[in-house]
């Protein structure tokens, strides 16, 4: 079938959205932006297409719910099957990447050992890799799927393992980390092909084992599912946007500014959107749109990256937390410490100074989130204010403390304004891009 792709190459993450002919979202994909833009795009697009195939599988499943009573797959079983399929798929991908990592680390070993005379890392590294491998099934087949990218997931496990394994002189911590840092870049630059089809059998098998699918139906279910995920997807058009769009391997007319894409994306998700606030990794945008989703005005932060998503990243690093953990922690604050500087680079220093003054971590975090949103409020004011409805997009919209601070400050400044936040807000730009792609093709067909 024909589909349309929007790709948002952000400073932090690269997002892709796939639409079907009717403009419904088929799939979404995300990866961390990296120096090889082509790979980042390819990975995000491949993920989105895989996700699209999952959607197709979901669409195909109800058919399995029809037939003789002892043959039907109950809706619960269908759900379980889909979930399992996704889990199996993510696990398989993870294992492939661990293999790549193992190979790369091993290849880098001599170079690293040369830097640390006397170091012998081989056995420790083998052990570290083994540990990662052993942990994988529980990580993916248990409950929630991990929400972080391979890089981050592996990095934190690796750091933990390295800390335990380190012995000064013989196996310095720095050397163990260094080997990982080198290898991970290579791993990220590698494209690997792993279709969903490869794990259909495993997923079905798991459910048979769990007694959710009658053993006799296994073959039938497997065939139906494999057929659905193997359906050919033809990308009819793609539009690129985002910070790195100028370097996307797209012709110029297939590139749209982030402003237009975020405006349109927000309009598509929430048609009554009048104002869009987008906080990404290193910029913040305030956009005004008309009832058709056409941008009427916008403002972006100036050259200083203070108060953007990266700021939270630095803070999280400093606290040894994941970015997604910051918001919940901040929400548990009892009071807010007033923070004035949102300079990203000094965030850590300020944090330490405040902690040393005896202030609580949660309270400082609450203050930091408010400070970020205060800056965003200025930008909103600059762009013409907050009008109903306000849609909050970009990665930072995933942060509940940022959302809470925004709600409060909007109420203080503008009264009760309906506010939209979608769990998929990080894909807003890519969604807008995909719609531009679709419109371009439809307009071309009409002409």
């Amino acid at each position: 079938m024909r589909c349309f792709v929007g790709i948002d190459l952000g400073s932090t993450t690269t997002k892709a959205v796939v639409l079907d002919e009717e403009g419904a979202v088929l799939g979404r994909g995300i990866t961390n932006s990296r120096s090889d833009y082509d790979v980042a795009c390819a990975v995000a697009q491949r993920e989105a297409l895989d996700d699209a195939r999952l959607t197709l599988a979901r669409r195909a499943l109800p058919a399995l719910g029809r037939g003789a009573p002892d043959e039907v797959l109950t809706p619960a079983a269908q759900e379980a099957l889909l979930r399992r399929l996704e889990q199996r798929f993510r696990l398989a991908q993870h294992l492939v990447q661990l293999d790549l990592l193992g190979a790369e680390v091993t290849a880098e070993l001599p170079a690293v050992e040369r830097l640390f005379p006397g170091a012998r890392l081989g056995p420790a590294i083998a052990q570290l890799l083994e540990g990662l491998r052993a942990e994988a099934p529980a990580q993916f087949l248990g409950g929630e799927l991990p929400r972080t990218f391979f890089r981050d997931l592996a990095a934190s496990q690796w750091a933990r393992g390295a800390q335990a394994a380190a012995v000064p002189g013989e196996r310095p911590y720095e050397a163990l980390l260094g080997a990982f840092d080198k290898a991970i870049l290579k791993v990220e630059g590698r494209l690997f092909d792993l279709g969903l089809a490869a794990v259909v059998g495993q997923a079905v098998g798991d459910l048979v084992e769990a007694g959710e699918i009658p053993g006799g139906r296994a073959g039938h279910v497997e065939r139906a599912l494999a057929g659905a995920v193997a359906a050919p997807l033809e990308v009819a058009a793609s539009v690129g946007t985002g910070y790195g769009r100028a370097r996307l391997p797209f012709p110029k007319e297939r590139i749209r500014s982030e402003i237009l894409c975020h405006g349109l994306g927000a309009h598509i998700m929430f048609p009554r959107t009048a104002t869009v606030l987008d906080i990404g990794g290193q910029d913040t945008k305030a956009i005004q749109v008309d009832p058709d989703g056409i941008v009427t005005g916008f403002q972006m932060n100036d050259r200083c990256a203070a108060g953007c998503g990266r700021y939270l990243g630095y803070i999280a690093d400093e606290m040894n937390l994941g970015v997604h953990e910051l918001g919940p922690l901040a929400l548990s604050a009892r009071k807010q410490v007033r923070i004035s500087s949102t300079c990203t680079v000094f965030a850590g220093a300020e944090l330490r100074e405040r902690l040393a003054l005896g202030q609580r971590r949660e309270d400082i975090l609450a203050g930091l989130h408010r400070a970020i949103i205060l800056r965003a409020m200025s930008l909103l004011a600059r762009s013409g204010g907050v009008k109903a409805e306000l849609t909050f997009t970009g990665g930072v919209a995933n942060n509940p403390a940022a959302v809470a601070a925004l709600r409060q400050l909007v109420r203080e400044g503008y009264g009760e304004v309906p506010m939209n936040i979608s769990p998929d807000s990080i894909y807003t730009g890519a969604l807008g891009g995909a719609h531009f792609a679709r419109r371009d093709v439809l307009a071309g067909a009409a002409a």
Partner: protein
């Protein structure tokens, strides 16, 4: 803030006028280089509120430190000059024009033509539209140990030239400036000569205005920002009131008239511009260190700047002001008081709205430069006001005049593209 590049750099138009301007400048710098031998007197002064006719009437050669700074920016020397000034304890925060000029002095005071510039016999501090000028000459005074003559030009806070302000300036001209010029030249003030220069100024001003106004046509035959910074060159600097300048503007006017007749658009350093797609009014000075690259971000997209405020810092002739030979000192005072950045913010908003209207622009773009508080403080409000009054969208970019550290091409281009795409989308409606 101010003034204009040597056309020796990227030439927008290989026209006769262009050649003439180049020759005028070369001659001027040659005279400056020879000053130590010829004994010609040299006065350093600023562009906004310059008293060129008066200086000419004393046969004094003006040097404009702002132009030094600008040229250093275009010649890619500013980074090193600014570094030199910062090395001497200047803050990263302050106006880079000052630092760039100071750095050039510290590095031997070699001007754009490669000749050493002569030291000043007098620092004529005509302090118009910006407080930094005062500090600038205090700093130069320490370097050159030259006498300083202050001409304090009050601000047009209420949007008009008050009689008290004019009298104050005239009296200063008469009692401070003229005596200082007499002192250094040993000559008496010759009002008839001054009148003669003023008459020529008015002539050139008439032609310049006609050139600038040609941008009201579609397509506009000129770029009223990037191109016009070359056009205002002679009149903003050492040539206002000379026969050369009058001839230059006559020639320029004829050339532009010809373009109009032929229905041509502007010429850019990369050749004639393609079809005109966007008409913009621009507020704020340009960036000099990446001038061509900056211009290209506009013309490559078919955006022409039809009017700009920067080209009015050395006089707001298009608002009707002409030097009047019959009231020589009064006219100089009114000229100083009327320069663009000496006008209150509400007046500046009025000017911009008028431009939007008269030049049928699609939008207002502000290039906010870090150096210049005089221009920049309040621009965001001006933008909002113009948007509100005209209903046209505003765009906002940030850079600097001559500090390459503050020009991020990717950043600026990103915003300009988004802005132009927005105008396009609005024009086309939802289907874009």
């Amino acid at each position: 803030m101010t003034a204009t590049p040597l056309p020796a750099a990227p030439a927008p138009q290989k026209d006769r006028s262009q050649e003439r301007q180049k020759a005028m400048l070369a001659e001027h710098f040659a005279r400056l280089a020879a000053a130590p031998e010829t004994g010609a007197k040299v006065v350093y002064t600023f562009v906004p509120g310059n008293l060129t006719e008066l200086l000419l009437s004393f046969d004094i050669l003006p040097v404009l430190p702002e132009i030094n700074a600008l040229q250093s920016g275009m010649r890619q020397r500013s980074r090193e000059f600014i570094r030199e000034a910062e090395k001497r304890g200047h803050s990263e925060d302050v106006c880079t024009y000052v630092k760039c000029d100071l750095g050039m002095k510290l590095k031997g005071n070699v001007g754009p033509t490669g000749d050493r510039l002569p030291n000043p016999d007098l620092l004529l501090l005509s302090y118009t539209g910006c407080f930094t000028f005062m500090k600038w000459f205090e700093l130069l005074r320490e370097e050159y140990r030259a006498p300083t003559c202050m001409l304090h030009v009050p601000y047009q806070a209420d949007g008009k030239v008050t009689p008290s302000a004019r009298d104050y300036v005239v009296r200063q001209l008469r009692e401070e400036v003229i005596p200082a010029l007499e002192r250094i030249t040993g000559r008496a003030y010759d009002e008839d000569r001054l009148r003669e220069h003023l008459r020529r100024s008015a002539e050139a001003e008439e032609d310049l205005v006609r050139v600038l106004r040609s941008a009201r046509r579609r397509p506009s035959p000129i770029d009223g920002y990037f191109g016009a910074v070359y056009y205002v060159g002679p009149i903003f600097s050492s040539f206002r009131g000379t026969a050369d300048a009058a001839a230059y503007y006559r020639e320029l006017r004829e050339e532009v008239d010809e373009r109009v007749r032929l229905g041509l658009g502007p010429v850019t350093p990369d050749g004639p511009m393609g079809p005109e797609r966007f008409r913009l009014v621009v507020e704020g000075p340009p960036n000099w260190t990446s001038f061509r690259e900056f211009w290209r971000m506009f013309h490559a997209e078919g955006a022409v700047c039809v009017a700009s405020t920067y080209t009015k810092v050395g006089g707001t002739y298009d608002e009707g002001f002409r030097h009047d030979p019959d009231r020589p000192l009064e006219t100089l005072a009114e000229y100083c008081l009327g320069c663009y950045t000496n006008r209150s913010l509400p007046t500046r908003v009025d000017v911009l709205c008028r431009y939007m209207d008269e030049y049928e622009a699609d939008g207002l773009l502000v290039n906010s430069v870090k150096s210049c508080n005089s221009f920049s403080a309040g621009q965001l409000l001006m933008l909002r006001e113009v948007e509100r009054r005209t209903g046209k969208p505003g765009g906002f970019i940030e850079s600097d005049l001559v500090d390459p550290r503050y020009f991020s091409a990717a950043n600026v281009k990103n915003r300009i593209d988004a802005y132009l795409q927005m105008i396009e989308q609005r024009r086309r409606g939802a289907g874009a």
